[in-house]
């Protein structure tokens, strides 16, 4: 086997272009004759549009056309990709989501009009000349206020601001209540999972192009899933069939979920390109991204954990308010329900669980999936309440977790999922060793001498990745399948091109996917190239999110490569005049078992395309195969994390002095890339725990609308991580035995940080049981003043 197959830390080949400024991002693309759009956005959170007069603006220099809602009559709204059914069996309330505001504005940032002009500056100048008069209405921002009787309604045509009231598992409701009533001990915790702005380095960009001669539309867009955009926008918004619509997402500079969704700006540029007869480009500014990219998290939760005398978990009951923002973004309804409620068992045997989620409309930017999506919210509340229970019952937090670990697999949880495999004691053992937990007391003393408080936070996490079995998610309300696709094309001289429906926006697919194919054939990975991000040259796929690319997309690549190998063996058998059953493929050579006959990979691929000596009557020439892979189950990466902090008692400032992560991702294709994925996830999780917070005032103005007030984590905010993924229980149902690693860091780290800070404060004698994230110096200081 040549070097660089599965298990090798190959350097990321895409980094050469990224690090030398040679990436090809959407904003780098300029189409001959393109015009530019500037969107006039609402600076009022809730109001009636009384007057919208574009006549003066239309006369401004360079203006080609100004669009308002009137131009979109007969055009569909932005669709939602998931329908949740509520506790009573009714479908969620689903408001219309117009491309441009119709009569009313519902959040600061909503698009009201669009100016297409020769230059971006002219478009912006003209947008300022639009006469706009909005009658301000009271805004609803706080979720609990929003669901009260008589609260102003975000959508007048809906019954209330409650999108749905979801119960899971509804049949268990009474049994859970009863178990909690009769329990030896019940620990209750109320907490907030803070609202976040994803802030990928590259803001969103869209370029719509229309070819009048052919009637073909093209959209260049910063998307994590171009095929999904083609389907949603083509079928539901603009009525363009797939064969007339090409969507291209070239290099994309990070997404973290915020680039999954179909946004109105994409539909606008595609629509306007035809209407204006010119390509139309939009580049989002950072300020605009803060008020137009879907935001993340924003849950307010009460969780109760019932335990028996020995600390065995008896039941969990939660009540969560989940912010949807003003409209339903593509996957928004699924995040607090199927990506959250199904994870409430965590790594533990809890026989009875009931999760109630009230999804609420407010006059804020839509909220949707952000790295982890629902699973960080589940992990956070569960791992926090367990820590609190351990303290209340005087049981060591690690011991309490171990006492309740699931140890037998497969394990069907009471919340509808079945874990195929795992070993939570193994990752915990590994973690305790990595974090030198035994030496903590000594470090604590040393910190004390320097006047610092020290704390240790340990927790587990589990997530459902490899999203997702289509038939299952279909039953749960998904309006699409969640398989993945791959076409493997072998060229005549033996090189391969893998065309994948997955999309890489930083994950390193161009490096990792070739390792899989090269390993199967026994050739060098440099012989394999990856093509992604263009609906014109990749099979219909569902894109990248939910840590699915290797588990689902990689499995499709394996299936397609298996088909290639099967056919190649037939050709090799013919060339060597042997029986197909005797052909073996190793190190890029086909051999006949028990003989010294062999032909090289390149001889066979050449024969496939130059079929002079070829079984043409039995076999088509060529070597190209496509596979679609629909997973049988989710995958369940899990692990244990430890955070050690020092808190400055005078200022409340938290410093993370050490962070260790022991993850079980099943088999690993490229350990270096996995390290990087965990590092990135930890950075975002620590960002959520200590720094990041999207805050609205009561009028719906985003107070943290720039990096002056929205605190992004920087290198100096995070420690040198210790990460380990040597504990491996391979996934039992996909061909690679992989589970996915992209979100783990962001899911497992927030509770570790908060557990550590609470631990530090309690060790210093403060009566503090919880602090809501972000644990900014001022919040930690205030908590110390109170108890």
């Amino acid at each position: 086997m040549p070097d660089g197959g599965i298990g090798a830390s190959n350097k990321r080949r895409e980094d050469v272009r990224f690090l030398t400024g040679k990436g090809n991002y959407t904003d780098d693309i300029n189409i001959h004759g393109q015009a530019h759009v500037h969107f006039l956005r609402s600076d009022i959170a809730h109001g009636k549009i009384k007057r919208l007069d574009t006549s003066d603006a239309e006369k401004m220099p360079g203006v080609l056309r100004i669009f308002t809602a009137a131009d979109f009559e007969g055009v569909g709204g932005i669709p939602c990709g998931w329908q949740v059914t509520d506790r009573h069996g009714n479908p969620m309330q689903e408001p219309k989501h117009p491309v441009l505001a119709e009569g009313k504005v519902r959040y600061v940032g909503e698009m009201i009009a669009a100016v297409v002009a020769e230059t971006p500056a002219q478009a912006r100048d003209a947008a300022e000349a639009i006469v706009l008069d909005i009658e301000e209405l009271p805004a609803v921002i706080d979720m609990k206020e929003a669901v009260k009787d008589g609260a102003p309604k975000v959508h007048d045509e809906l019954e209330s601001n409650l999108c749905y009231d979801w119960g899971f598992v509804e049949e268990n409701r009474e049994a859970v209540d009863e178990a909690i009533r009769g329990a030896h001990h019940v620990t209750t915790l109320e907490l907030v999972n803070n609202r976040l702005v994803a802030n990928p380095m590259e803001p969103r960009v869209a370029i719509g192009i229309y070819d009048q001669a052919s009637g073909d539309h093209t959209l260049y867009t910063t998307s994590q899933n171009p095929h999904v955009i083609r389907l949603l926008m083509g079928a539901f918004v603009l009525g363009i069939p797939e064969h007339k619509l090409r969507v291209v997402s070239p290099d994309v500079g990070g997404g973290f979920g915020s680039k999954i969704f179909h946004y109105a700006e994409e539909a606008f540029c595609t629509f306007a390109a035809k209407a204006v007869g010119r390509p139309v480009k939009w580049t989002c500014s950072r300020s605009e991204a803060f008020i137009s990219d879907a935001q993340g998290r924003d849950h307010v939760t009460k969780i109760e954990l019932a335990l028996d005398e020995e600390g065995h978990f008896l039941a969990i009951r939660t009540e969560t308010y989940a912010n949807m923002g003003a409209y339903l973004s593509t996957f928004a309804p699924s995040v607090p329900t199927w990506l959250h409620g199904t994870l409430m068992a965590g790594n533990y045997r809890t026989p009875l669980i009931y999760v109630n989620v009230k999804a609420v409309f407010t006059n804020t930017v839509p909220v949707d999936a952000y790295r982890g999506a629902g699973r960080p919210e589940a992990s956070f509340q569960l791992e926090r309440v367990i820590d609190k229970a351990a303290r209340e019952m005087g049981i060591d937090p690690v011991e309490l977790r171990r006492r309740n670990f699931i140890t037998e697999f497969p394990y069907a949880t009471p919340v509808a999922v079945e874990y195929d495999t795992g070993d939570y004691n193994a990752t915990m053992d590994k973690l305790l060793e990595m974090a030198d937990v035994a030496g903590f007391e000594k470090r604590l003393e040393e910190s004390r001498k320097r006047g610092k408080l020290r704390g240790l936070g340990i927790n587990c996490y589990i997530e459902a990745c490899g999203i997702a079995p289509s038939n299952l998610v279909g039953q749960l309300g998904a309006r699409a399948g969640l398989y993945e696709s791959a076409t493997v094309r072998v060229n005549a001289t033996g090189g391969l091109v893998v065309m994948t429906g997955s999309h890489s926006h930083g994950q390193g697919h161009e490096t990792a996917f070739p390792q899989v194919v090269a390993d199967m054939i026994g050739i060098d990975p440099s012989m394999v190239e990856v093509v992604h991000g263009d609906t014109a040259n990749t099979p219909m796929g569902m894109g990248t999110y939910g840590s699915r690319s290797l588990a689902v997309g990689g499995s499709a690549i394996v299936r397609a490569t298996e088909k290639i190998i099967a056919k190649a063996k037939k050709i090799a058998a013919h060339l060597m005049e042997a029986s197909e059953a005797d052909i073996e493929l190793k190190d890029g050579q086909f051999t006949v078992a028990g003989t010294d006959k062999s032909v090289a990979w390149g001889d066979v691929t050449l024969a496939a395309y130059v079929p002079h000596n070829y079984p043409l009557e039995d076999l088509e020439p060529g070597l190209e195969e496509t596979a679609f892979y629909d997973p049988a189950n989710f995958t369940y990466p899990a692990g244990a994390y430890a955070c050690e902090v020092e808190v400055d008692p005078d200022t409340g400032k938290v410093e993370i002095v050490s962070f260790c992560a022991a993850d079980d991702f099943g088999n690993i294709v490229n350990p270096m890339i996995v390290d990087g994925q965990v590092h990135g996830g930890l950075g975002q999780g620590i960002g959520q725990a200590l720094l990041e917070h999207a805050v609205y005032d009561e009028n719906g103005q985003l107070l943290t609308g720039s990096f002056m007030d929205y605190a992004m984590p920087r290198a100096s905010d995070v420690p040198f991580y210790k990460v380990d993924h040597s504990c491996q229980t391979p996934c039992t149902h996909n061909p690679l035995g992989v589970k996915g690693c992209g979100e783990a860091g962001a899911i497992g780290s927030p509770p570790a940080v908060v557990n550590a800070v609470v631990d530090a404060l309690q060790r210093a004698g403060h009566d503090v049981t919880h602090i809501d994230m972000p644990l900014s110096p001022s919040r930690v200081w205030a908590a110390m003043q109170q108890g």
Binding site: T651, D709, P777
Partner: protein
Amino acid sequence: MYNFEIERPGTIEEAVAALAAEEAQALGGGQTLIPTLKARLAAPAKLVSLAGIAEMKGVRSEDGAVVIGGGATHAEVAREAAETYPALAALAGGIGDPAVRNRGTIGGSLANNDPSACYPAAVLASGATITTNTRQIAADDFFQGMFTTALNDGEIITSVSFPVPQAANYQKFEQPASRFALVGVFVAKFADGVRVAVTGASEDGVFRWSEAEAALSADFSADAISGLSVSPEGMIGDLHGTPEYRAHLVKVLTGRAVSAA
């Protein structure tokens, strides 16, 4: 950004003449002004860049004072005042990031008088003198509340003269997002007394904490202020800290500055 004219004078005199034009504005390092223009929050008809004026550059020593050109960048000050006035150099070296420090100037920072900026604390605590194209202004008269100074329209800060204290230190507690000073305290000990200036905390901008000055002038040790407290009244309250928190930090940082001086 809206369209504007730009002039690049080579002398203070030319700059003053250029600034006499209607809606003209001085441009220092642009680290505050350019983002404001990009956000279309200001629309000067003409910018007069001070970057090419040689007589406004550099750091020099003069009669026991360190004199900094109004156009000297933060990076220059961090480098060139490191020996003559280390506390000031350290303050300059802690402003923003390298890009900000290589463009931003002391003149721009003082003219802007952001309530969270660092330099005003050093100027006030050092009892520095601000020299403009027309006059000299004592630090105690220069700062007149948030974003407000004694400067007249078109007046240019050409240099700032800092008397060098026997001991000094600046403690900056960073606002987590912007990394400006959530609270910053500059303590300077002179032969005739101690001056303590606080930035970031007050709704009136940079101020002197006179009780601490009196206590420290009698006994220059962190213990000397242990009995004092700062009232939260008039302190800034925002997402990043309540008035109580800021008032508390003033005392903590003053103590630390004294210990480190």
